[in-house]
């Protein structure tokens, strides 16, 4: 028999925590906990009243539980936990991070220049379909945009990387992979292998991977 003190405790906890599925689950688990603790004590020969009192005494006050729930549910960083990707922040050396950063900046320059060339060529000289040219020009502008973002975040102001940079890196990985596969496919189908296009796309892919690695490692470093 639970008794009034337990019922009062659970009711107050429910009121203080407020409504919500997470809060309801917490209350339910605390109720289960009290029942388990009381049963345990009774199994060891404690009287029912004393067992429930002892369980109530050990579970903590309503204020303590509510404070813990508030603290633990405080919003964390908007990034996912680096541990989810197996990132070990402590393993990155300062030299490694600096090397990757310089490579990312250099690649951003090279790929932006190539993208400008491709975009310029697509607008003025390419005799392909308008949609194909539009696609090339849009992709070129996006690559240049990510390059500018990279320099603004890592090269000039050098603050902590922003989420947009990670998004940009994902775009480069996608675009570089798609471009490389498409170039390879065209070479197989038409026999016309454009090595420069494959190289450009691989550079974009590398830039994307390194930018993602760098920004994520910086985040992991901050988290640790």
């Amino acid at each position: 028999m639970k008794g009034k003190p337990i019922e009062d405790f659970v009711r107050r906890l429910r009121v203080e925590l407020g409504e919500g599925s997470e809060e309801a689950r917490l209350v339910s688990e605390i109720e289960d906990h009290l029942a388990d603790a009381a049963q345990d004590a009774m199994a060891r020969g404690t009287s029912a009243d004393e067992a429930w009192d002892r369980a109530l005494g050990r579970v903590g006050s309503v204020a303590e539980i509510v404070a813990s729930a508030r603290a633990e549910s405080a919003p964390g960083p908007a990034w996912p936990d680096p541990r989810l990707l197996g990132v070990r922040a402590a393993r990155f050396t300062v030299r490694e991070v600096k090397m990757i950063k310089v490579s990312v900046l250099a690649l951003a320059l090279v790929t932006s220049a190539l993208a400008a060339l491709v975009g310029f060529h697509g607008v003025l000289f390419d005799d392909g379909s308008p949609i194909w040219n539009l696609l090339k020009v849009s992709a070129s502008i996006a690559v240049i945009g990510v390059g500018a973002l990279t320099w603004s975040q890592l090269g000039i102001r050098s603050p902590n990387p922003v989420r947009a940079l990670f998004g940009g890196a994902l775009f480069l990985i996608t675009a570089g992979s798609a471009g490389a596969v498409w170039t390879w496919h065209l070479a197989r189908v038409t026999g016309d292998f454009e090595a420069w296009a494959l190289l450009a796309n691989l550079l974009i892919l590398s830039q994307g991977c390194l930018t993602a690695w760098h920004s994520y490692s910086r985040f992991a470093e901050q988290r640790s």
């Binding site: 688990e29 605390i30 906990h33 345990d40 050990r58 903590g60 549910s73 936990d81 989810l84 197996g86």
Partner: protein, 105 residues
Amino acid sequence: MKGEALKGHLDLLLLAVVREGPLHGYAIIEELRRRSGGAFDLPEGTIYPALHRLERSKLLRSRWQSVGPRRRRRVYRLTRHGEAAFEEEKDQWRSFSGAMETVVA
């Protein structure tokens, strides 16, 4: 050992206990007490929000399990990410405690 001293290490302690196999909240707390010889003294109800946070971080997962006709318990188990996080935190703890020991001894 009182709450404030424990809080910084709570994740590692909880992951270490759940790592041994699926357990419900009460059993986790009992196991923590048993293994520490009763030294770890936190208000028991404050452990659950920490378990929920670890679950939100995908380090634990849980589900209700029926116990008899009218009772059920939330049972927690470690995820693959939780296993990796445990190993990482354990390494960090060992370096930290080793360094402390060297200084204090």
